[in-house]
Structures are given as C-alpha cells and as structure tokens.
C-alpha cells in the first residue's frame, strides 16, 4: 500500500516536472532571442510586446471603453519572432520588404539572396525567400525553400509553423490537397 502511494506520488511529481520542463523548453527561446513569442505564457507575451512596440496604458483603455467584455478564452496574439540578424542583413530585409511591397518580386528575391550570401544559415532568410517565391506562384521552389528554412530553424517553433503553413499553400497551389492537409496538421502540431 505504502509503495503504491509512493509510486503514485512520484508519478505525480514526474508529471509536474514534465510540465515545468516543457514550460522551460517552450519559453527558452525568449531568453535567447529577446523577442520570441509563446502562446502559453502571458508574461512571455508581454515581454515580447514591450520589445515590439510601446505597450498601451491599460488603465486609459479601460476608462474609454466602459463595457469590458471578457471572453472565455482569448488566444494570445502572436508575435513573430524577429530574426537575429546582423545590421547588414537587417538592412537587406528592409530593402526586400520595400521591393516586395512595390511589387518588385525579382528584386526582392535578389536582395534576399544577397542576405543569404552573408548569413547562409539564417533560417528566417530562407523563409522570406520562400514567401517571395510563393507570391510569384513558384510553388515548388516555395516549398523546397520553406523546407530548407525548417532544416535550419532548430527550436524556433513560430518559424517552423510559418514554414509549414507556407508549404501547405504551395502544395494547394499545385493541387496537392492531401499534402497541403498534412502540412497544415504539421503547422498546428508545431504550435
């Protein structure tokens, strides 16, 4: 009997450590990156938010809107993990974004390739090049580039998810519906 109780207690504690462990693992990138994100831990979220933009003063918000609706569950907003890149690469990412917004996809791709020459193992750059190829409807390239990004993404779950969603779209683009479904499942799974 005593042994059974002890076993049960030990089991319980193991489960708890498991939770803690998993919490640590999910939260880990935050400390590394400064502005990663997670969905599970509000403190992590607010920390990320502070880095992204000025936090809105909550009190004034409440004063303006007298009726405050409280949802049963609000999914925390996602903050895209900002890539850790050198100043050089950040400059290029900015340029590529401008080119993309101006519809200059070829230019944007060229700029991303230049960035990749500087940081060939930066998974975010591969992801962005994949996104450009997707916009150009180069579905096979988009998928393979996103896979490449995944291969270098390590523990960056947000990036993995983004890559899988991108792969899903690319597969849908070529009419591979089951493949797209699989990729979407992977995206949700890596959340």
């Amino acid at each position: 009997m005593e042994r059974l109780v002890i076993t049960a207690l030990v089991l319980l504690s193991v489960m708890l450590t498991g939770c803690l462990e998993s919490a640590y693992r999910v939260g880990a990138p935050i400390t590394e990156r400064g502005h990663s994100s997670t969905q599970t831990f509000p403190e992590a979220k607010s920390r990320g938010a502070q880095q992204e933009s000025e936090p809105a003063p909550i009190s004034s918000e409440v004063e303006k809107n007298q009726e405050v609706q409280i949802a049963v569950y609000t999914p925390p907003p996602r903050f895209k993990a900002k890539p850790i890149s050198s100043a050089a690469v950040s400059n290029l990412i900015q340029t590529a974004t401008q080119q993309k917004n101006a519809g200059n996809m070829i230019g944007a791709a060229a700029t991303m390739e230049r960035a990749l020459r500087i940081e060939p193992r930066n998974a975010h750059l591969w992801n962005q090049l994949a996104a450009i190829r997707l916009m150009q409807k180069q579905y096979h390239q988009a998928e393979d580039l996103a896979s490449k990004s995944n291969a270098l993404a390590a523990a960056d779950r947000d990036l993995r998810r983004d890559n899988w969603l991108l792969i899903a779209k690319a597969r849908r683009g070529v009419g591979n519906m089951s493949g797209a479904q699989f990729a979407e499942n992977k995206a949700n799974f890596s959340q």
Partner: protein
C-alpha cells in the same frame, strides 16, 4: 584666188577642226560624265560603307565579366590582408588621404577607402569614403568618414575578363563625355593639331609631312588627321599604297560630312589600337586604362593620360611593359608638346615627367587571370546567349568568382603539388570550390599552373571517382531505416560476384585485409571495400544509382557491381555537385557561376536565381554526414588534422582508384564544399592514395581560405540516443563506454543493455520520454 583657196582651205580645216573639236568635246563630256557618275557612284558606295561600318562596328563591345563584389559589414570575417588584396586587384591607389574615388589610406588595422560608384544588378552603389577598422579576425567597425555607422556596403566588382570574338579585339566603351579633357588635349596636340578646323584631310599637314620626309629621305612623319587614322583602323587593311591613301582621304571627307567632330573623336578613342595582350588586341583608351593601370580612365592623372597618348604612335615600339625607357621618353615628349601649346604649365610638366610609368605589375595572359573559371562562365552563357551577343553587345556579366578564394587555392595547390611531385614531374591537379548552401562556384582550378589556359581538368578531366561514390551507397542503405542504421553489422569478408557474361569480380580492401564484422559507420569511415560491396548489393544497384542521381549526377552510368567502388568516371565539377547536395543536408542547388547579366546600358537583363531542391531526405543525409565527419576525425581523412583544427568538424571522403591512378578528396565545411583531384594526364599510376595526395591539397586550400566550422542541426526526424556500441542496445550516459548515436525516429533500437536494466530509473525515464515525444 589663192587667198580664196586658202580661205576655202581654211574654212575646210576650220570645219574639220570644228568637227573634231565637237567630237572631242562630246567625248570629253561623255567621259567626264561617266567619270562623274563613277565617282559619285563610288562615293555613294563609300558613303554607304562608312555609314554602315560607323553605325555598326562602333558598338561591337565584348561582354565584360566581373567577379563577386566584396561585401563589407561589421562582423564580416575579413582580414586586412584580404581587403588589401582586393583593393590592389581593383587598382585602388594608396594615398595619404583618399580624396578621390579609387584610392585608400591605411594606418595599422584602420583603413580609409574612397570607393568607386558602380552599377550592380540591383542598383547603383554610390562612391563614399569608408572608415574600416579590423580586430579579432574580422571587420569590427564600418563607418562613413563623418562617423556615421554603415550597415552594409560593397566595393566595385573586380573585372576578371571579357568574352571577345575570334578576331580577338577587346575594348571597354567610353562615351565622349567620359573622355578626360587632358587626354583629348594631348591627343589633338600630338596627333592632329587642326582637328577642329579641317574637313577630314589636312593639306597643310600633308605638305609639312612630305617636306619632312623628303628632307629625311624616309617616312618620318605622317600627315594623317585623326579622322584618317580612324578610317584606317576602321575599314582598311594595312597595305601601303596610293590607292589606299586616296580611299582613306575620300572616306575621311565623307565621315566628316556625316558625323560631328565629337562623334568621330569618340569612335577614335574606342577604336585606336593601343597594345597586345597575348592573342587579345587592346583597343581604345577605356580598356587600355584598365589594361595598363587597372583603373578606370577618369581616375588617371596627367602622366598616365599622356602615356596612353604616347602609345598611339606605336603600341609595340613604345610598349611600357617591355620598353619602359622608350615609353617614358615619348610620354615626356607628349608633355613637352602640351606645354609648348600652352595646355599645361611648366610646373605640371616637371611634376609629371618625374612620375613613374605606373604600370601594374600583373603579367597579362590572353585569356585573363582565371581561364578555368572563365571557361565555365562561357559554357554556361552559351546555353542562353548567341555567340555574337556575347562578343558585341557589351553585356556586363556578374559571376560568383571570389578572386581571393581562387588565389588562395591556387597558392595552396601549387605549393602542395611541389611537395608531392618532387620525383613525379607529370603530376597534375584540379579543384572546384563552391558555396555549400548556395551552389555558387567560388573558384575553379584547371591545372597546377595558375592562369594557364590549357586543358581544363576541373571540367574536362573525366576520371573514375573511386571511393568518393561510397556516401551514395550508404545513403541508399540509410534511406531504408527499417533495415539499416549507423550501427548495423556488415561483413567485411571476401566475396566474388559473377556478372551476366560470366566474368568474376573479386573486390579487395585497400590494405588487402578482411576486417570481419564491422559496423556500418566504420565501414564508411575506413572505406572498407568488401563491406561496401556487400551492402550495396543487398540494397540494390539501382537504388545506389537513384541516390547518385538525387545527389546531382547527370551523366548516364553503366550499372555494374564495380560501380559500388567508384567505377564511374566524372569530372571534378560533377563530384562537387554531388557533395554540394550532401553539404547542404540534402538540398540540391545546381552549381552556378553566373548571378546576373546587365545590358551595356546597365539595365537588368537576366538573373540566375538560387534554386533549392530537396532531393534527399534530411535525416538520411544527416546520418551520412555524421560518418563523413568521422572520416576526418578518425577514418581515412585523419591527416587533415595537420592542416585544420579537428574542432572545425569538417566532413569529407578520400578516393583512390586502381593502381593509384587517381587521388581524390571531396568534403565540406559549414560554408564551402570543395573537391580536389590529383593524377596524371596520361592516366599512368600517380603513386598517391586519396589521403596521401588530394587530401594534402584540399587541407591546405581549406587552411588558406578559413572555412566556417561545420555544425549540423539535428533534423526533426532524427534523435540521438545513448547506446552500448558493442551490442547496439539502448544505454544511458552513465553506462561504461556508452556513445550517442543518431537514429531516424521510429527506428530507434528497442532493447536495453544490461546497464540500463540495472539502474532503477528506467520506468520513469520511459514515461518522461513518452511525455516529451507526445509533447513535441
């Protein structure tokens, strides 16, 4: 009466004369008309020729080929030496303060570089003064001269060659507006004083020249105007005859009638022959400036400009590389004439006359400094462009060549081959270096003599690859995870295989020994032949060929069992392609030598994008690469430790063929993939194994180019677990002799070694593991 008769007679003669005069006049008029017609016709014809040639030939500019521009950014792995090398190659001059584009100053590890403006495919990089600071093997700070920090900048792209047509004329086109004022002044002063006054021919100059020639009883002076000289260069042959002189004068007149002085001057400046570089003829001031000084024309100072003008009279007689004294004398004469005409001051002359010729020391060769790489560029271009477009349209081609990597590799190869071939003179070698993630070809070495444009072994020496094929065999096996993992036992014991025609093949090990039962990773790391053949036969030859094709093999192969030991002949660049796919973890990128093509007007024409294709699953590629690291750590590639720290974790494979005819090494770092072949052109035994020959060259190359360490990320579907290496059963970190081995998830070893069952945490460990697997 007599008078009458006389008068009659007179009349008769008069009439007769009248008649004759009439006929003569008519004949004269007719002939005159005909002559006129012929002359007019001929002139019209000449005019047509002038028009056609002038409009057409004027723009025949060979494509200019550039290497990669050097990227500057804080944190770049760049050394002062490397920057210096680049600046030298680009023809930047060292000064006290770089107030002019194309110059720099240095103070220890700090550089001030005044960059040139340059148009790239993605836009113009403006000139600016950069303040660079080096420390700890990198570019630690990058600022403008005014102290503003700069995120990223690039130097102008190094010109590495041009693609000129069969008649071997090369030029860099210069517009009239780009011609330096002093150059034009010197040219007119020395060659054609009345250029701006005459109509193409200068009678006074001809008379003066004739007088001078008569006095000297030989041809000492020419009375040709610049226009006549242009015509001569443009349309006419080199024969010396009166007829040619007449033609020349006529065409000069026509040219002047049709075109403005500035247009003629521009054509002249681009057409004039100014030197010879092997088979390549240097035409025009634009190219001559690059050829002699490695600088763009507009950067040249007075002594250099006047030297170019001095060359007009006789590029080979006054060749500053072969006859510097003669050239200097002539240059100083040009300076004197300029002063006499009041174009420059006494002070300027004195200063310029003392200046050295300023010729850059690099000996030119007819095909440029990088013939093997240019060969690759030409082959890739000819797939997409017509020959005449490449040789005449003035395209600007941006390639992936890294001149620094190329130079370091050339140095390493030459040095190592000297060591290797003390008594084997005929030894040759070839190498290809590429970016592992991008597939960009950084350097191509076609033989042991750098800059020698002969047989391009990197592209054309198709030789058996020996054990370099083995990673494909093991990849094929590891892609069947239900059958094979890194610890799978293989029999390295003698075997015979009979083919359909009844021939028996008995593969042997390099050391002629049998190693009994070995583990899969050991068989590859130590390159055991018998184990590999057994494995390959059991996996299936077709599977091995499929994997080779996945890795990038394009050439058709004969499917014989001997294929498993490399009885397949490839050129080094093809091997580089195969290893690139491995180096990037299964993502195949076609090797590229060209990035972009711009038109002569700097407009983007074409881009060769980075293509990535996942042709090999990441998990199996990871496992193979793990073993390729083991090759270097403790297998046949151990000798690399002499060149590169084992901490770099480089991966690679040796290859040796029958009777040591070919010595190969292929491998990669975190950023570069490289392949080296060493052997003999006559295919006789070279007496070198892969590790005794090619490895030494490969190691030295890598040492020189400072690669990035190879850190492979565990793919999602791979898990590294502790196992007992003897039994292959699961173990734990604390177990004696336990090692960590990566497995493809779903195919982890199921049983536990006795060490684990003795410990009491196994149940909880399993639970924990289950939890995490589920949670992931």
């Amino acid at each position: 009466m007599t008078r009458r008769t006389n008068s009659k007679k007179h009349k008769k003669t008069k009439r007769h004369n009248k008649k004759r005069g009439f006929w003569l006049r008519r004949w004269l008029i007719k002939t005159g008309l005909l002559l006129c017609l012929v002359t007019v016709g001929y002139s019209v014809y000449l005019d047509y020729v002038v028009k056609r040639e002038f409009a057409g030939k004027r723009w025949a500019v060979p494509a200019r080929v550039y290497g990669r521009p050097l990227e500057l950014y804080p944190g770049a792995a760049l050394m002062p030496d490397q920057l210096l090398n680049e600046l030298k190659y680009l023809g930047y001059t060292k000064v006290r303060y770089p107030s002019q584009a194309g110059s720099y100053s240095r103070n220890g590890s700090r550089f001030l570089v005044h960059t040139r403006s340059f148009v790239f495919w993605d836009g113009k990089e403006s000139e600016q003064i950069l303040d660079l600071q080096f420390s700890d093997f990198q570019l630690s700070s990058l600022k403008t001269a005014s102290g503003k920090s700069v995120g990223l900048a690039r130097l102008d792209a190094p010109a590495i060659g041009s693609i000129y047509p069969v008649h071997n004329e090369d030029r860099v086109l210069i517009k009239r507006s780009e011609l330096p004022k002093k150059l034009v002044q010197a040219l007119v002063a020395v060659e054609d004083r009345s250029f701006y006054q005459h109509y193409g021919v200068d009678a006074k100059a001809i008379a003066r020249a004739m007088w001078a020639n008569i006095r000297a009883r030989s041809v000492v002076q020419g009375g040709s105007t610049l226009t006549q000289q242009l015509v001569k260069n443009f349309f006419l042959t080199r024969e010396r005859s009166l007829w040619r002189k007449v033609n020349e004068a006529l065409m000069a007149l026509l040219l002047e009638r049709r075109y403005k002085k500035d247009e003629i001057l521009e054509a002249y400046a681009n057409e004039i022959y100014l030197g010879q570089d092997g088979e390549r003829a240097i035409h025009g001031f634009g190219l001559a400036s690059h050829f002699y000084f490695k600088q763009p024309l507009h950067e040249l100072t007075l002594p250099k400009l006047t030297l170019l003008v001095a060359l007009v009279r006789g590029p080979s007689y006054y060749d500053p590389k072969r006859h510097p004294e003669r050239a200097k004398k002539r240059r100083n004469l040009v300076l004197k004439i300029m002063r006499d005409q009041g174009l420059i001051t006494d002070k300027e002359v004195k200063h310029a006359a003392l200046a050295p010729l300023g010729i850059t020391g690099v000996k030119g060769s007819s095909t440029g400094r990088f013939p093997a790489f240019m060969d690759l560029v030409r082959r890739q271009l000819h797939r997409d462009y017509r020959g005449e477009d490449l040789t005449s349209e003035g395209l600007r081609i941006f390639t992936t060549l890294d001149p620094w990597v190329q130079k370091q590799a050339e140095k390493a190869l030459a040095e190592q081959l000297r060591h290797l071939s003390s008594n084997k003179k005929e030894l040759e070698s070839a190498a290809v270096i590429a970016g592992s993630q991008s597939g960009e070809v950084l350097a191509v070495l076609g033989g042991r003599t750098p800059g020698f444009a002969g047989f391009n072994r990197a592209l054309d020496a198709v030789r058996p690859i020996g054990s370099l094929v083995k990673p494909a065999v093991y990849l094929a096996a590891l892609m069947q995870p239900e059958r094979y993992n890194l610890l799978s036992p293989l029999e390295d014991t003698p075997l015979s295989i009979q083919n359909r025609s009844g021939d028996v093949w008995t593969p042997k090990n390099y050391d002629h020994r049998s190693h009994g039962t070995v583990q899969l990773h050991q068989a590859l790391a130590h390159s055991y032949n018998m184990a590999t053949v057994r494995l390959g036969m059991s996996v299936g030859l077709d599977q091995v060929v499929n994997r080779l094709q996945d890795l990038g093999l394009k050439r058709p192969v004969n499917i014989y069992p001997s294929l498993l030991l490399g009885a397949i002949s490839l050129a080094p660049i093809e091997v580089a392609q195969i290893y690139q796919t491995l180096a990037s973890g299964g993502f195949h990128s076609p090797l590229r030598a060209i990035r972009e093509v711009l038109t002569a007007e700097q407009q983007p024409l074409q881009r060769y994008p980075l293509i990535v294709e996942q042709t090999v699953p990441a998990d199996a590629a990871y496992l193979v690469n793990q073993v390729l690291q083991e090759v270097v750590r403790s297998g046949t590639g151990q000798a690399l430790a002499q060149y590169i720290s084992p901490q770099m974790n480089l991966a690679g494979k040796t290859g040796t063929t029958d009777d040591m005819r070919d010595s190969w090494f292929a491998g990669f770092s975190g950023d570069k993939v490289a392949v080296v072949w060493v052997g003999r052109d006559d295919n006789k035994p070279a007496g070198l194994s892969g590790s005794a020959g090619a490895l030494r060259v490969w190691g030295k190359i890598m040492q020189n180019i400072q690669p990035v360490a190879l850190e492979m990320l565990l793919p999602e579907s791979v898990e590294a677990v502790w196992v007992d290496p003897v039994s292959g059963l699961r173990a734990e970190e604390h177990c004696a002799g336990a090692i960590q081995v990566p497995y493809i998830i779903g195919f982890l070893p199921s049983g536990h070694s006795s060490c684990v069952s003795k410990s009491n945490g196994s149940l909880f460990d399993d639970l924990l593991e289950g939890f995490f697997e589920w949670n992931d």
